[in-house]
Amino acid sequence: MQNPIILQMKGIDMQFPGVHALKEVDFTLRAGEVHTIMGENGAGKSTLIKCLTGVYQKGKGTILLDGKEINPKSTLDAQSLGISTVYQEVNLCPNLTVAENCFIGRQPKKAGFIDWKTMNKRTKELLKRFDIDIDVTKPLSTYTVAIQQMVAIARAIDIQCKVLILDEPTSSLDANEVKQLFKAMRSLKEEGMAIIFISHFLDQVFEISDRFTVLRNGELIGEYLVDEVTQYELVSKMVGHEIDDLSTLKRVQHTEAEMKEFLKAKQIGVAGSVQDIDLTLRKGEIVGFAGLLGSGRTETANMLFGVDPITKGSISINGKKVNLRKPSNAIKHNIAYCPEDRKRDGIIGDLSIRENIILAIQARQGIFKKISKKKAEELAQKYIKTLQIATPDADKKIGELSGGNQQKVILARWLATDPDLLILDEPTRGIDVGAKTEIQKLVLKLCEEGMSIVFISSEIEEVVRCSNRIVVMRDRKKVAELKGDDLEHDTILKTIAGGAKTNE
């Protein structure tokens, strides 16, 4: 039984300066179906959605809605065509009432005044479809995020909606709330609504979806029915197998005796985020973190660096319990951290390379012990040379460098602090293959010299190649710790997908 096709995107092609974001991607959506778009970060999922909702203007290709070609110019445009989107963060007004939120901009009127009675009544009816019975005259903020999300969806579908896009709606919900949301999605499906779903949570995706479209590096990998693929197959399709030109790299293996324990985390967690992580980090060892985006890798790193102070458990360094309330605490304990979002949390765009490099040591030394211009220049030249940062001089603004070189400067900033533990979160994301190899080589060399390293990456190949030990995360929990012979691509994929423990 094939449901009628409601939306068709054909040969969508999208180019940004320097990036070919979408390469002739097709996408077909049928009525009464939940269709999930899968792909790693940067695969082109959001670009595809943004073409559909009018945020971006597609380069090439056609979009057919009910057989008619459409060309949405803005989100408002898309909405009037019947394409509504509910985003990860609820973008309603928390200080308005539930009813006001549902009818904002299109309030029912009576003799020129807002007809509150009708508005509240209709809102109640709307929400009843989702089995939600709440006081609609209370401010939205008095309800849970799940309810708020449901209100957003209710609002979206009430505006003559044919296609509903849910962009990561579950990432801030707990298990029960997810169930509630899925129930609502199913009832919408039965009414013939076509739903596009985007999520990083594999288990959830398999529970609710009818069909998948997998994207990788802006290319369409394929379209699959839920019964056709297993979780493992889907993950390997998403991740792909990149050509291994880095096989010459050899990871170092220190003996147990050489690896002195540096940091030990016991049952650490942050309320509402990652829970119960046990972790031991030793000098001269690289611990890889594998798992899909949102699985809790970055959150764990943030805990170790004091960005998100732990609310549960304890961390000890060199056998002594420590209290890491902010990054400067962690830096005092010789921990360094290259964060995932280089632009937001890494570079100080308008400052020079030199200033960016000395920033962390300067912050540690305080305001009054200024690093002399000579010393700063020495440090800058040293790292420009050893890390092969491509720049004419250290005066250049870091914001003007390429991604790979920016990453090297951030690395230099931390290496200058001479850390005992270096946490790298996606150090090679968005940088070209050459710089990638250099960074990996550097990581291995640092480990050989006795540094403790945490290596977080979405590229499993890379994690396998560098790590002595791999921690696998799923759904904000540590699900396995792999060592020795288990350090294989397939084993990790299986563990990420959630099949390893039960199958073997």
């Binding site: 960005v307 830096i331 100080i348």
Partner: protein, 361 residues
């Protein structure tokens, strides 16, 4: 051969220019205003010495600009961290009220003897401490409670003049001692004392930001607060220090103003000076969004504003017009700093300098 040499020189000079574009633009603007005055009134640049003191329009401009210049130094630091302090006028009023009330000038008409209640230097010290506390209060609201700078300093802006009135008991107390007048009206080596004070503040702030790491850390916080935090910078304390310095600067300016008028007018001392100070900072090339700041640029900015004001007065234009002209200047400067215009310039620049750009890459 000369053909080959020319573009290389062009690149070099362009690079040097880039560092100080805004500063040079400021100097040019200042020069234009002065030039206009010279044409309008040929004796504009004449400086004479009367009773061992320099006199002349130029001296007048510099001397009048002292309070704005002092306050704009503190304002530069605050704006560099991405904030703003609109309470400086009120803090100046508090400081003035404090110092005048503490000195407490009494004149006995029967005997012709004047007495004071407190040593002037002690009174100044107390007034400065009070204004520093005012600045720290602003800093605490912004850095610890996370209140938006505009709102946080609005509190003291409103309350400050009330506090000043409480200090002066609703009067306009006067101090006519020679020592006190000397602060703003005296002269050392024929140069008005106020100019020394302003110069000292500028130099101290400049030294503090350049000889310590404070300047860089300020800029870092202003450019990217999140990345600064990840680098271990205590952004809260940096902001606190900036607001505190700004309070102290306002205090110094307040004493200067009080000395100029030989009294403390809680309602009018330093009125609207926050706007002039912010304008000076922006004219100097520091972006309101925070980040890179330019102490000397601000100093030139303060001079531009005073030159503009004096020019308008000397033209005999009604003083109300000054606000219109000032606001026009603000609009132009802010437009020049907007990304849209910047990109437009870049586009024009890249078109005409394509060859030299290719060479430098």
């Amino acid at each position: 051969m000369s053909n080959n040499k020319a573009p290389a020189n062009a690149i070099k000079s362009k690079k040097k220019l880039n560092l100080n574009t805004q500063f040079i633009a400021g100097l040019v603007a200042l020069a234009l205003i002065l030039l206009f005055n010279l044409i309008y009134e040929p004796g504009f640049f004449r400086i004479s010495i009367v009773e061992g003191k320099l006199y002349g329009s130029i001296i007048d401009i510099i001397n009048r600009c002292v309070p704005t210049m002092i306050i704009s130094m503190g304002m530069t630091l605050v704006i560099a961290t991405g904030g703003v302090d609109i309470s400086v006028g009120a803090v100046a009023a508090i400081s003035g009220a404090m110092v005048v009330s503490l000195i407490g000038y009494n004149f006995d008409s029967a005997t012709g003897v004047t007495t004071t209640n407190m040593n002037m230097y002690l009174a100044i010290l107390i007034a400065l401490i009070v204004s520093t506390i005012c600045g720290a209060w602003n800093g605490l609201l912004v850095s610890r409670l996370g209140i938006q700078p505009m709102v946080a300093t609005l509190i003291l802006m409103t309350a400050g003049r009330g506090i000043a009135q409480l200090i002066t008991d609703g009067q306009i107390p006067r101090v006519y001692t020679e020592d006190f007048s000397f602060i703003a009206q005296g002269s050392i080596f024929a140069v008005p004392t106020g100019i020394y004070i302003a110069l000292a503040v500028v130099l101290i702030v400049y030294a503090f930001t350049k000889l310590t790491a404070f300047g860089m850390l300020c800029e870092s916080v202003g450019i990217n607060a999140s990345a600064s935090r990840y680098s271990g910078i205590n952004a809260k304390n940096i902001k606190l220090i900036c607001y505190t310095i700004c309070g102290l600067c306002a205090g110094i300016a307040g004493i200067h103003i009080a000395s100029t008028v030989q009294g403390a007018d809680a309602n009018n001392a330093g009125l609207n000076i926050e706007m002039d100070a912010i304008l000076a900072v922006v004219l100097g090339g520091t972006s309101m969004a925070g980040g890179k700041f330019y102490i000397w640029g601000t100093a030139v900015g303060a001079l531009i504003i005073q030159a503009l004001t004096t020019t308008i007065y000397s033209l005999g234009v009604p003083p109300e017009i000054i606000y219109v002209v000032k606001s026009l200047v603000v609009v132009i400067v802010v437009m020049l700093q907007s990304n849209l215009i910047k990109n437009l310039f870049k586009k024009i620049g890249s078109k005409s300098k394509k060859s030299s750009a290719a060479a430098s890459v």
